[in-house]
Symmetry: C2
Subunit: 310 residues, 2 copies
Protein backbone atom coordinates (compact mmCIF):
# COMPACT_ATOMS: atom_id res chain seq x y z
CA UNK A 1 0.00 0.00 0.00
CA UNK A 2 0.97 3.64 -0.25
CA UNK A 3 2.30 5.19 2.95
CA UNK A 4 4.54 7.95 4.23
CA UNK A 5 7.76 6.47 5.63
CA UNK A 6 10.10 8.01 8.23
CA UNK A 7 13.63 6.68 8.55
CA UNK A 8 16.76 8.45 9.83
CA UNK A 9 14.66 11.63 10.13
CA UNK A 10 13.94 11.50 6.38
CA UNK A 11 10.39 11.29 5.00
CA UNK A 12 9.38 9.69 1.70
CA UNK A 13 6.22 8.27 0.19
CA UNK A 14 6.50 4.55 -0.47
CA UNK A 15 4.17 2.34 -2.51
CA UNK A 16 5.42 -0.95 -1.09
CA UNK A 17 4.57 -0.78 2.60
CA UNK A 18 2.74 -3.99 3.56
CA UNK A 19 -0.90 -3.56 4.53
CA UNK A 20 -1.23 -4.22 8.29
CA UNK A 21 -2.70 -7.58 9.33
CA UNK A 22 -4.36 -8.81 12.49
CA UNK A 23 -6.32 -6.54 14.83
CA UNK A 24 -8.96 -4.32 13.22
CA UNK A 25 -8.04 -3.00 9.79
CA UNK A 26 -8.95 0.65 9.27
CA UNK A 27 -9.08 2.28 5.86
CA UNK A 28 -7.76 5.75 6.65
CA UNK A 29 -9.82 8.65 5.27
CA UNK A 30 -8.12 11.70 6.69
CA UNK A 31 -5.13 12.18 9.01
CA UNK A 32 -3.68 15.25 10.73
CA UNK A 33 -0.06 16.31 11.22
CA UNK A 34 0.70 16.92 14.86
CA UNK A 35 3.65 18.77 16.35
CA UNK A 36 4.88 15.43 17.67
CA UNK A 37 5.15 14.22 14.04
CA UNK A 38 7.29 17.24 13.22
CA UNK A 39 9.40 16.60 16.31
CA UNK A 40 9.92 12.98 15.19
CA UNK A 41 11.54 14.33 12.02
CA UNK A 42 13.75 16.45 14.32
CA UNK A 43 14.86 13.45 16.32
CA UNK A 44 12.59 13.78 19.34
CA UNK A 45 12.25 9.99 19.35
CA UNK A 46 14.10 7.53 17.09
CA UNK A 47 11.13 6.21 15.15
CA UNK A 48 11.30 4.26 11.90
CA UNK A 49 8.04 3.49 10.11
CA UNK A 50 4.81 5.13 9.05
CA UNK A 51 4.10 8.22 11.20
CA UNK A 52 0.65 9.66 11.89
CA UNK A 53 -1.62 9.19 14.92
CA UNK A 54 -4.51 11.60 14.32
CA UNK A 55 -6.98 10.04 11.91
CA UNK A 56 -10.50 9.20 10.96
CA UNK A 57 -11.09 6.08 8.92
CA UNK A 58 -13.55 3.30 8.34
CA UNK A 59 -13.51 -0.23 9.64
CA UNK A 60 -14.27 -3.31 7.55
CA UNK A 61 -18.00 -2.78 8.14
CA UNK A 62 -17.72 0.71 6.67
CA UNK A 63 -18.28 2.43 10.02
CA UNK A 64 -16.38 5.63 10.54
CA UNK A 65 -13.98 5.35 13.47
CA UNK A 66 -11.30 7.26 15.34
CA UNK A 67 -8.70 5.45 17.43
CA UNK A 68 -6.85 5.77 20.70
CA UNK A 69 -3.17 5.59 19.90
CA UNK A 70 -1.72 3.62 22.84
CA UNK A 71 -1.92 -0.16 22.48
CA UNK A 72 -1.51 -1.88 25.83
CA UNK A 73 -0.01 -5.29 26.63
CA UNK A 74 -2.56 -6.08 29.36
CA UNK A 75 0.15 -7.96 31.24
CA UNK A 76 2.58 -5.50 32.87
CA UNK A 77 2.28 -3.94 36.34
CA UNK A 78 1.04 -0.67 34.86
CA UNK A 79 -1.74 -2.43 32.94
CA UNK A 80 -2.57 -4.42 36.10
CA UNK A 81 -3.14 -1.06 37.78
CA UNK A 82 -5.62 -0.26 35.01
CA UNK A 83 -3.45 2.45 33.49
CA UNK A 84 -3.36 1.16 29.91
CA UNK A 85 -2.33 4.50 28.44
CA UNK A 86 0.98 4.15 30.28
CA UNK A 87 1.53 0.43 29.64
CA UNK A 88 5.29 -0.10 29.93
CA UNK A 89 5.31 -2.29 26.83
CA UNK A 90 2.86 -0.26 24.77
CA UNK A 91 3.13 0.45 21.11
CA UNK A 92 1.91 3.86 19.98
CA UNK A 93 0.34 4.48 16.61
CA UNK A 94 2.87 6.19 14.37
CA UNK A 95 5.21 6.94 17.30
CA UNK A 96 6.47 3.75 18.98
CA UNK A 97 6.82 0.41 17.17
CA UNK A 98 3.55 0.62 15.26
CA UNK A 99 2.91 1.92 11.78
CA UNK A 100 0.65 4.96 11.80
CA UNK A 101 -2.06 6.70 9.87
CA UNK A 102 -0.29 8.47 7.00
CA UNK A 103 -1.11 5.41 4.92
CA UNK A 104 -3.98 3.88 3.02
CA UNK A 105 -4.55 1.47 5.90
CA UNK A 106 -3.74 1.34 9.58
CA UNK A 107 -4.69 -1.16 12.24
CA UNK A 108 -5.55 -1.02 15.92
CA UNK A 109 -7.15 -3.39 18.40
CA UNK A 110 -10.95 -3.13 18.36
CA UNK A 111 -10.91 -1.79 21.95
CA UNK A 112 -9.02 1.30 20.77
CA UNK A 113 -11.62 2.33 18.20
CA UNK A 114 -14.54 4.70 18.77
CA UNK A 115 -17.39 5.12 16.28
CA UNK A 116 -17.81 8.67 14.99
CA UNK A 117 -21.31 10.15 15.43
CA UNK A 118 -23.05 11.04 12.15
CA UNK A 119 -23.15 14.70 13.15
CA UNK A 120 -19.34 14.89 13.13
CA UNK A 121 -17.70 15.34 9.71
CA UNK A 122 -14.36 13.74 8.79
CA UNK A 123 -12.69 17.14 8.99
CA UNK A 124 -13.90 17.45 12.57
CA UNK A 125 -13.37 13.83 13.61
CA UNK A 126 -9.69 13.99 12.69
CA UNK A 127 -9.28 16.40 15.62
CA UNK A 128 -10.59 13.87 18.17
CA UNK A 129 -7.13 12.76 19.29
CA UNK A 130 -5.67 16.25 19.96
CA UNK A 131 -8.96 17.38 21.48
CA UNK A 132 -8.83 14.39 23.84
CA UNK A 133 -5.25 15.40 24.72
CA UNK A 134 -6.55 18.87 25.58
CA UNK A 135 -9.23 17.34 27.80
CA UNK A 136 -6.61 15.30 29.66
CA UNK A 137 -5.69 18.49 31.53
CA UNK A 138 -9.05 18.49 33.27
CA UNK A 139 -8.60 14.84 34.24
CA UNK A 140 -5.47 15.87 36.13
CA UNK A 141 -6.10 19.35 37.52
CA UNK A 142 -9.39 20.63 38.88
CA UNK A 143 -10.17 23.79 36.91
CA UNK A 144 -13.35 25.72 37.57
CA UNK A 145 -15.06 29.11 37.57
CA UNK A 146 -13.01 32.03 38.75
CA UNK A 147 -9.59 30.40 38.51
CA UNK A 148 -7.00 32.41 36.61
CA UNK A 149 -5.73 30.21 33.81
CA UNK A 150 -3.15 31.12 31.16
CA UNK A 151 -2.56 29.10 28.01
CA UNK A 152 0.86 29.66 26.45
CA UNK A 153 0.74 29.14 22.70
CA UNK A 154 -1.90 29.99 20.11
CA UNK A 155 -1.13 27.05 17.82
CA UNK A 156 -3.17 23.95 17.07
CA UNK A 157 -2.92 22.47 20.54
CA UNK A 158 -3.08 25.80 22.38
CA UNK A 159 -6.31 26.60 20.56
CA UNK A 160 -7.95 23.30 21.49
CA UNK A 161 -6.73 23.56 25.07
CA UNK A 162 -8.13 27.10 25.30
CA UNK A 163 -11.48 26.08 23.83
CA UNK A 164 -11.87 23.22 26.32
CA UNK A 165 -10.76 25.34 29.29
CA UNK A 166 -13.14 28.14 28.29
CA UNK A 167 -16.01 25.71 28.97
CA UNK A 168 -15.03 25.54 32.67
CA UNK A 169 -15.83 29.16 33.50
CA UNK A 170 -12.24 29.89 34.42
CA UNK A 171 -10.74 33.35 33.81
CA UNK A 172 -8.76 32.45 30.73
CA UNK A 173 -6.03 34.30 28.83
CA UNK A 174 -4.16 32.93 25.84
CA UNK A 175 -0.66 34.22 25.16
CA UNK A 176 0.44 33.97 21.55
CA UNK A 177 2.47 35.67 18.85
CA UNK A 178 0.34 35.25 15.73
CA UNK A 179 -2.36 37.82 15.13
CA UNK A 180 -4.48 35.61 12.92
CA UNK A 181 -4.44 32.80 15.46
CA UNK A 182 -5.23 35.08 18.36
CA UNK A 183 -8.13 36.42 16.32
CA UNK A 184 -9.51 32.89 15.95
CA UNK A 185 -9.65 32.67 19.73
CA UNK A 186 -11.09 36.13 20.23
CA UNK A 187 -13.87 35.29 17.78
CA UNK A 188 -14.86 32.56 20.21
CA UNK A 189 -14.86 35.02 23.12
CA UNK A 190 -11.52 33.88 24.52
CA UNK A 191 -9.32 36.65 25.87
CA UNK A 192 -5.78 37.04 24.62
CA UNK A 193 -3.11 39.32 25.98
CA UNK A 194 -0.27 39.73 28.43
CA UNK A 195 -1.08 38.39 31.89
CA UNK A 196 0.39 39.78 35.08
CA UNK A 197 3.46 37.96 36.40
CA UNK A 198 3.04 35.48 39.28
CA UNK A 199 -0.76 35.63 39.34
CA UNK A 200 -2.00 32.64 37.33
CA UNK A 201 -3.44 29.73 39.30
CA UNK A 202 -2.72 27.44 36.36
CA UNK A 203 -0.48 27.91 33.31
CA UNK A 204 -0.75 25.43 30.45
CA UNK A 205 2.41 25.28 28.34
CA UNK A 206 1.54 24.52 24.69
CA UNK A 207 4.31 26.38 22.86
CA UNK A 208 6.21 23.27 21.85
CA UNK A 209 9.45 24.93 22.92
CA UNK A 210 11.68 24.73 25.97
CA UNK A 211 11.41 28.53 26.37
CA UNK A 212 7.72 28.10 27.14
CA UNK A 213 8.62 26.69 30.54
CA UNK A 214 10.44 29.85 31.63
CA UNK A 215 7.42 31.90 30.65
CA UNK A 216 5.14 29.55 32.58
CA UNK A 217 7.37 29.92 35.66
CA UNK A 218 7.19 33.69 35.31
CA UNK A 219 3.39 33.75 35.17
CA UNK A 220 2.36 31.10 37.70
CA UNK A 221 1.60 32.20 41.23
CA UNK A 222 3.27 30.66 44.28
CA UNK A 223 1.58 27.30 44.95
CA UNK A 224 0.16 27.41 41.41
CA UNK A 225 0.27 24.67 38.78
CA UNK A 226 2.09 24.44 35.45
CA UNK A 227 0.67 21.89 33.03
CA UNK A 228 3.12 20.75 30.37
CA UNK A 229 1.61 19.63 27.05
CA UNK A 230 4.63 20.06 24.78
CA UNK A 231 6.95 17.27 23.77
CA UNK A 232 10.05 18.31 21.88
CA UNK A 233 13.57 17.17 21.17
CA UNK A 234 16.15 18.35 23.66
CA UNK A 235 16.55 19.02 27.35
CA UNK A 236 15.45 21.88 29.56
CA UNK A 237 17.61 23.66 32.13
CA UNK A 238 15.81 25.22 35.06
CA UNK A 239 16.25 26.43 38.59
CA UNK A 240 14.52 23.65 40.50
CA UNK A 241 15.20 25.31 43.86
CA UNK A 242 12.88 28.15 42.88
CA UNK A 243 10.18 25.56 42.15
CA UNK A 244 10.68 24.34 45.72
CA UNK A 245 10.64 27.82 47.22
CA UNK A 246 7.46 28.79 45.35
CA UNK A 247 5.97 25.32 45.95
CA UNK A 248 4.93 25.13 42.32
CA UNK A 249 3.35 21.95 40.97
CA UNK A 250 4.37 20.78 37.48
CA UNK A 251 2.11 18.28 35.76
CA UNK A 252 3.05 16.41 32.60
CA UNK A 253 -0.01 15.82 30.44
CA UNK A 254 -0.32 13.60 27.37
CA UNK A 255 -3.19 11.59 25.83
CA UNK A 256 -6.76 12.03 26.94
CA UNK A 257 -10.25 10.55 26.82
CA UNK A 258 -11.90 10.11 23.40
CA UNK A 259 -15.56 9.88 24.46
CA UNK A 260 -15.90 13.45 25.80
CA UNK A 261 -13.86 14.76 22.85
CA UNK A 262 -16.34 13.22 20.39
CA UNK A 263 -19.19 14.58 22.52
CA UNK A 264 -17.76 18.12 22.32
CA UNK A 265 -17.43 17.84 18.55
CA UNK A 266 -20.97 16.48 18.22
CA UNK A 267 -22.48 19.20 20.41
CA UNK A 268 -20.38 21.86 18.61
CA UNK A 269 -19.05 23.25 21.89
CA UNK A 270 -15.63 23.27 20.28
CA UNK A 271 -15.00 24.47 16.74
CA UNK A 272 -12.07 22.85 15.01
CA UNK A 273 -12.67 23.73 11.36
CA UNK A 274 -10.93 27.14 11.46
CA UNK A 275 -7.79 25.28 12.52
CA UNK A 276 -7.43 23.56 9.15
CA UNK A 277 -4.56 25.20 7.28
CA UNK A 278 -4.26 22.98 4.24
CA UNK A 279 -5.07 19.54 2.87
CA UNK A 280 -2.74 17.38 0.78
CA UNK A 281 -3.16 13.99 -0.86
CA UNK A 282 -1.09 11.15 0.58
CA UNK A 283 1.11 11.21 -2.54
CA UNK A 284 2.22 14.69 -1.46
CA UNK A 285 2.66 13.91 2.21
CA UNK A 286 6.27 15.13 2.23
CA UNK A 287 5.07 18.52 0.96
CA UNK A 288 2.34 18.41 3.59
CA UNK A 289 5.00 18.08 6.29
CA UNK A 290 6.92 21.01 4.83
CA UNK A 291 3.75 23.10 5.01
CA UNK A 292 2.98 21.93 8.56
CA UNK A 293 6.52 22.83 9.62
CA UNK A 294 6.23 26.35 8.28
CA UNK A 295 6.32 28.81 11.19
CA UNK A 296 2.78 29.72 12.18
CA UNK A 297 1.06 26.91 10.27
CA UNK A 298 -2.06 25.42 11.81
CA UNK A 299 -3.38 21.90 11.12
CA UNK A 300 -2.33 20.30 7.86
CA UNK A 301 -4.43 17.29 6.85
CA UNK A 302 -3.39 14.40 4.67
CA UNK A 303 -6.18 12.96 2.58
CA UNK A 304 -5.36 9.28 2.36
CA UNK A 305 -8.43 8.30 0.35
CA UNK A 306 -7.75 10.32 -2.80
CA UNK A 307 -4.66 10.86 -4.88
CA UNK A 308 -5.21 14.18 -6.60
CA UNK A 309 -4.48 17.32 -4.62
CA UNK A 310 -7.65 19.05 -3.50
CA UNK B 1 25.34 41.17 70.85
CA UNK B 2 27.30 38.14 69.69
CA UNK B 3 26.15 36.65 66.40
CA UNK B 4 27.38 34.63 63.46
CA UNK B 5 27.66 36.85 60.37
CA UNK B 6 27.53 35.78 56.70
CA UNK B 7 28.86 38.14 54.05
CA UNK B 8 30.26 37.31 50.59
CA UNK B 9 29.88 33.64 51.47
CA UNK B 10 32.25 34.11 54.43
CA UNK B 11 31.22 33.35 58.01
CA UNK B 12 32.60 35.01 61.15
CA UNK B 13 31.47 35.51 64.73
CA UNK B 14 30.90 39.17 65.53
CA UNK B 15 30.38 40.77 68.93
CA UNK B 16 28.93 44.03 67.62
CA UNK B 17 25.72 43.02 65.88
CA UNK B 18 22.89 45.22 67.16
CA UNK B 19 20.24 43.46 69.19
CA UNK B 20 17.00 43.40 67.15
CA UNK B 21 14.26 45.85 68.12
CA UNK B 22 10.53 45.96 67.53
CA UNK B 23 8.42 42.82 67.19
CA UNK B 24 8.86 40.14 69.84
CA UNK B 25 12.40 39.75 71.12
CA UNK B 26 13.49 36.14 71.57
CA UNK B 27 16.52 35.10 73.57
CA UNK B 28 17.82 32.21 71.52
CA UNK B 29 18.63 29.05 73.51
CA UNK B 30 19.56 26.55 70.82
CA UNK B 31 19.66 26.74 67.01
CA UNK B 32 20.22 24.09 64.32
CA UNK B 33 22.25 24.23 61.12
CA UNK B 34 20.14 23.33 58.11
CA UNK B 35 21.31 22.36 54.65
CA UNK B 36 19.91 25.67 53.41
CA UNK B 37 22.39 27.44 55.72
CA UNK B 38 25.22 25.48 54.16
CA UNK B 39 23.89 26.30 50.67
CA UNK B 40 23.83 29.99 51.58
CA UNK B 41 27.58 29.79 52.17
CA UNK B 42 27.82 28.18 48.69
CA UNK B 43 25.95 31.04 47.06
CA UNK B 44 22.49 29.50 46.80
CA UNK B 45 21.03 32.90 47.65
CA UNK B 46 22.98 36.16 48.10
CA UNK B 47 22.31 36.71 51.79
CA UNK B 48 24.19 39.08 54.05
CA UNK B 49 23.44 39.01 57.77
CA UNK B 50 22.94 36.58 60.62
CA UNK B 51 21.95 33.13 59.28
CA UNK B 52 19.93 30.54 61.22
CA UNK B 53 16.24 29.74 61.09
CA UNK B 54 15.82 26.64 63.25
CA UNK B 55 15.73 27.65 66.90
CA UNK B 56 14.16 27.42 70.29
CA UNK B 57 14.33 30.44 72.55
CA UNK B 58 12.45 32.29 75.21
CA UNK B 59 10.33 35.37 74.92
CA UNK B 60 10.44 38.32 77.30
CA UNK B 61 8.05 36.51 79.65
CA UNK B 62 10.48 33.58 79.82
CA UNK B 63 8.20 31.26 77.84
CA UNK B 64 9.94 28.83 75.54
CA UNK B 65 9.01 29.44 71.93
CA UNK B 66 9.77 28.26 68.40
CA UNK B 67 9.08 30.47 65.40
CA UNK B 68 7.76 30.26 61.86
CA UNK B 69 10.39 31.78 59.63
CA UNK B 70 8.35 33.63 56.97
CA UNK B 71 7.25 37.13 57.95
CA UNK B 72 4.39 38.33 55.77
CA UNK B 73 3.52 41.87 54.68
CA UNK B 74 -0.26 41.33 54.99
CA UNK B 75 -0.76 43.69 52.04
CA UNK B 76 0.21 41.93 48.78
CA UNK B 77 -2.06 39.84 46.55
CA UNK B 78 -0.57 36.62 47.91
CA UNK B 79 -1.28 37.66 51.50
CA UNK B 80 -4.78 38.72 50.45
CA UNK B 81 -5.25 35.15 49.25
CA UNK B 82 -4.30 34.02 52.76
CA UNK B 83 -1.04 32.46 51.66
CA UNK B 84 1.29 34.26 54.08
CA UNK B 85 4.08 31.72 53.72
CA UNK B 86 4.44 32.86 50.11
CA UNK B 87 4.01 36.60 50.68
CA UNK B 88 5.77 38.28 47.76
CA UNK B 89 7.39 40.82 50.09
CA UNK B 90 8.21 38.43 52.92
CA UNK B 91 11.34 38.45 54.93
CA UNK B 92 12.63 35.07 56.04
CA UNK B 93 14.50 34.50 59.27
CA UNK B 94 18.19 34.10 58.51
CA UNK B 95 17.57 33.73 54.77
CA UNK B 96 15.96 36.84 53.26
CA UNK B 97 16.41 40.35 54.68
CA UNK B 98 16.06 39.37 58.33
CA UNK B 99 18.76 38.49 60.82
CA UNK B 100 18.46 34.92 62.02
CA UNK B 101 18.95 32.72 65.02
CA UNK B 102 22.70 32.10 65.24
CA UNK B 103 22.79 35.01 67.67
CA UNK B 104 22.08 35.77 71.28
CA UNK B 105 18.79 37.37 70.27
CA UNK B 106 16.44 37.19 67.33
CA UNK B 107 13.06 38.77 66.75
CA UNK B 108 9.85 37.76 65.03
CA UNK B 109 6.27 39.05 65.02
CA UNK B 110 4.24 37.54 67.86
CA UNK B 111 2.02 35.74 65.33
CA UNK B 112 5.00 33.68 64.16
CA UNK B 113 5.79 32.28 67.61
CA UNK B 114 4.50 29.01 69.06
CA UNK B 115 4.89 28.06 72.72
CA UNK B 116 6.79 24.84 73.31
CA UNK B 117 4.97 22.22 75.44
CA UNK B 118 6.76 21.34 78.68
CA UNK B 119 7.15 17.74 77.53
CA UNK B 120 9.39 18.83 74.64
CA UNK B 121 13.05 19.51 75.51
CA UNK B 122 15.10 22.26 73.86
CA UNK B 123 17.03 19.60 71.92
CA UNK B 124 13.76 18.35 70.49
CA UNK B 125 12.07 21.73 70.00
CA UNK B 126 14.92 22.95 67.81
CA UNK B 127 13.73 20.39 65.24
CA UNK B 128 10.23 21.90 65.00
CA UNK B 129 10.98 23.89 61.85
CA UNK B 130 12.47 21.04 59.77
CA UNK B 131 9.82 18.66 61.11
CA UNK B 132 7.13 21.11 59.98
CA UNK B 133 8.83 21.21 56.56
CA UNK B 134 8.60 17.42 56.44
CA UNK B 135 4.88 17.60 57.29
CA UNK B 136 4.31 20.07 54.45
CA UNK B 137 4.47 17.11 52.05
CA UNK B 138 1.25 15.73 53.47
CA UNK B 139 -0.42 19.11 53.10
CA UNK B 140 0.26 18.90 49.37
CA UNK B 141 0.02 15.23 48.42
CA UNK B 142 -2.46 12.72 49.82
CA UNK B 143 -0.37 9.83 51.17
CA UNK B 144 -2.02 6.88 52.84
CA UNK B 145 -1.89 3.16 53.58
CA UNK B 146 -0.64 0.93 50.78
CA UNK B 147 0.93 3.63 48.65
CA UNK B 148 4.51 2.93 47.58
CA UNK B 149 6.62 5.84 48.76
CA UNK B 150 10.37 6.27 48.37
CA UNK B 151 12.42 8.85 50.25
CA UNK B 152 15.73 9.70 48.59
CA UNK B 153 18.31 10.73 51.14
CA UNK B 154 19.04 9.49 54.65
CA UNK B 155 20.23 12.85 55.99
CA UNK B 156 18.61 15.18 58.50
CA UNK B 157 15.65 16.07 56.32
CA UNK B 158 15.27 12.63 54.75
CA UNK B 159 15.08 11.10 58.21
CA UNK B 160 12.35 13.49 59.39
CA UNK B 161 10.42 13.06 56.14
CA UNK B 162 10.63 9.29 56.49
CA UNK B 163 9.50 9.35 60.11
CA UNK B 164 6.46 11.49 59.28
CA UNK B 165 5.54 9.42 56.22
CA UNK B 166 5.89 6.18 58.20
CA UNK B 167 2.94 7.37 60.31
CA UNK B 168 0.64 7.27 57.25
CA UNK B 169 0.76 3.51 56.74
CA UNK B 170 2.35 3.88 53.32
CA UNK B 171 4.80 1.25 52.03
CA UNK B 172 7.95 3.24 52.66
CA UNK B 173 11.54 2.72 51.51
CA UNK B 174 14.41 5.09 52.22
CA UNK B 175 17.34 5.15 49.81
CA UNK B 176 20.60 6.33 51.33
CA UNK B 177 24.34 5.84 51.27
CA UNK B 178 25.34 6.02 54.91
CA UNK B 179 25.12 2.82 56.92
CA UNK B 180 24.85 4.53 60.28
CA UNK B 181 22.03 6.76 59.08
CA UNK B 182 20.15 3.91 57.46
CA UNK B 183 20.48 2.03 60.74
CA UNK B 184 18.80 4.92 62.57
CA UNK B 185 15.80 4.48 60.29
CA UNK B 186 15.75 0.69 60.52
CA UNK B 187 15.74 0.94 64.30
CA UNK B 188 12.44 2.77 63.93
CA UNK B 189 11.05 0.03 61.69
CA UNK B 190 11.53 1.98 58.45
CA UNK B 191 12.69 -0.10 55.49
CA UNK B 192 15.77 0.93 53.56
CA UNK B 193 17.00 -0.54 50.31
CA UNK B 194 16.93 -0.37 46.55
CA UNK B 195 13.40 0.06 45.18
CA UNK B 196 12.31 -1.24 41.79
CA UNK B 197 12.45 1.27 38.94
CA UNK B 198 9.22 2.97 37.82
CA UNK B 199 7.07 1.57 40.62
CA UNK B 200 6.89 4.26 43.30
CA UNK B 201 3.63 6.18 43.61
CA UNK B 202 5.49 9.01 45.32
CA UNK B 203 9.21 9.80 45.49
CA UNK B 204 10.40 12.47 47.92
CA UNK B 205 13.73 13.99 46.90
CA UNK B 206 15.73 14.98 50.00
CA UNK B 207 19.29 14.47 48.78
CA UNK B 208 20.11 18.15 48.49
CA UNK B 209 21.69 17.52 45.11
CA UNK B 210 20.59 17.95 41.51
CA UNK B 211 21.40 14.27 40.86
CA UNK B 212 18.57 13.32 43.19
CA UNK B 213 16.05 14.39 40.59
CA UNK B 214 17.31 11.87 38.02
CA UNK B 215 17.02 9.12 40.59
CA UNK B 216 13.49 10.25 41.46
CA UNK B 217 12.55 10.15 37.76
CA UNK B 218 13.97 6.64 37.50
CA UNK B 219 11.95 5.35 40.45
CA UNK B 220 8.59 7.07 40.03
CA UNK B 221 5.85 5.24 38.17
CA UNK B 222 3.98 6.73 35.22
CA UNK B 223 1.42 9.20 36.62
CA UNK B 224 3.32 9.19 39.92
CA UNK B 225 4.44 12.19 41.96
CA UNK B 226 7.90 13.54 42.74
CA UNK B 227 8.09 15.83 45.76
CA UNK B 228 11.10 18.12 45.81
CA UNK B 229 12.37 19.19 49.23
CA UNK B 230 15.95 20.15 48.32
CA UNK B 231 17.11 23.66 47.65
CA UNK B 232 20.62 24.03 46.36
CA UNK B 233 22.77 26.38 44.34
CA UNK B 234 22.75 25.74 40.61
CA UNK B 235 20.41 24.66 37.86
CA UNK B 236 19.08 21.29 36.83
CA UNK B 237 18.94 19.94 33.28
CA UNK B 238 16.23 17.44 32.53
CA UNK B 239 14.22 15.88 29.75
CA UNK B 240 10.89 17.59 30.27
CA UNK B 241 9.28 15.72 27.36
CA UNK B 242 9.65 12.47 29.29
CA UNK B 243 7.81 14.11 32.20
CA UNK B 244 5.00 14.84 29.72
CA UNK B 245 4.99 11.33 28.25
CA UNK B 246 4.93 9.69 31.70
CA UNK B 247 2.49 12.33 32.99
CA UNK B 248 4.58 12.74 36.12
CA UNK B 249 3.64 15.39 38.68
CA UNK B 250 6.46 17.37 40.32
CA UNK B 251 5.65 19.22 43.52
CA UNK B 252 7.95 21.77 45.12
CA UNK B 253 7.64 21.66 48.90
CA UNK B 254 9.04 24.10 51.44
CA UNK B 255 7.90 25.27 54.91
CA UNK B 256 5.18 23.50 56.81
CA UNK B 257 2.81 23.73 59.76
CA UNK B 258 4.31 24.13 63.26
CA UNK B 259 1.35 22.98 65.38
CA UNK B 260 1.33 19.32 64.22
CA UNK B 261 5.14 19.26 64.35
CA UNK B 262 5.08 20.25 68.03
CA UNK B 263 2.31 17.71 68.60
CA UNK B 264 4.43 14.91 67.08
CA UNK B 265 7.37 15.89 69.29
CA UNK B 266 5.16 16.01 72.38
CA UNK B 267 3.56 12.64 71.68
CA UNK B 268 6.98 11.15 70.80
CA UNK B 269 5.72 9.78 67.51
CA UNK B 270 8.88 11.16 65.94
CA UNK B 271 12.30 10.80 67.55
CA UNK B 272 14.72 13.56 66.71
CA UNK B 273 17.43 13.12 69.33
CA UNK B 274 19.48 10.51 67.43
CA UNK B 275 19.85 13.12 64.67
CA UNK B 276 22.03 15.37 66.84
CA UNK B 277 25.60 15.08 65.59
CA UNK B 278 27.33 17.73 67.68
CA UNK B 279 26.78 20.86 69.71
CA UNK B 280 28.95 23.98 69.64
CA UNK B 281 28.82 27.26 71.54
CA UNK B 282 27.97 30.36 69.52
CA UNK B 283 31.59 31.52 69.84
CA UNK B 284 32.56 28.47 67.76
CA UNK B 285 29.79 28.77 65.20
CA UNK B 286 32.24 28.83 62.29
CA UNK B 287 33.63 25.48 63.45
CA UNK B 288 30.05 24.27 63.84
CA UNK B 289 29.42 25.03 60.16
CA UNK B 290 32.59 23.16 59.21
CA UNK B 291 31.33 20.15 61.13
CA UNK B 292 27.84 20.42 59.62
CA UNK B 293 29.34 20.59 56.14
CA UNK B 294 31.35 17.42 56.65
CA UNK B 295 30.04 14.71 54.34
CA UNK B 296 27.58 12.54 56.22
CA UNK B 297 27.12 14.89 59.18
CA UNK B 298 23.69 15.00 60.80
CA UNK B 299 22.28 17.94 62.79
CA UNK B 300 24.81 20.29 64.33
CA UNK B 301 23.39 22.55 67.04
CA UNK B 302 24.66 25.93 68.12
CA UNK B 303 24.17 26.67 71.77
CA UNK B 304 23.58 30.39 71.90
CA UNK B 305 23.01 30.62 75.62
CA UNK B 306 26.40 29.48 76.81
CA UNK B 307 29.90 30.32 75.77
CA UNK B 308 31.95 27.30 76.76
CA UNK B 309 31.87 24.32 74.45
CA UNK B 310 29.77 21.50 75.88
Amino acid sequence: MRALWLEDRELRVREDVPRPTGETLVKVRLAGICNTDLELTRGYYPYTGVPGHEFVGEDEQGRRVVGEINVACHACATCARGDHTHCERRTVLGIVNRNGAFAEYASLPAENLHPVPDEVTDEEAVFTEPLAAALEIQQQVAIGPGQRVVVLGDGKLGNLVAQTLALTGCVLTVVGRHEAKLELLEKRGIATGTPEARRADVVVECTGQAAGFDEARRLVRPRGTIVLKSTYAGDLTLNMSSVVVDEVTIVGSRCGPFAPALELLKSRKVDVKPLIEARFPLAEAVEAFAEAGRRGALKVLIDTSSNPKI
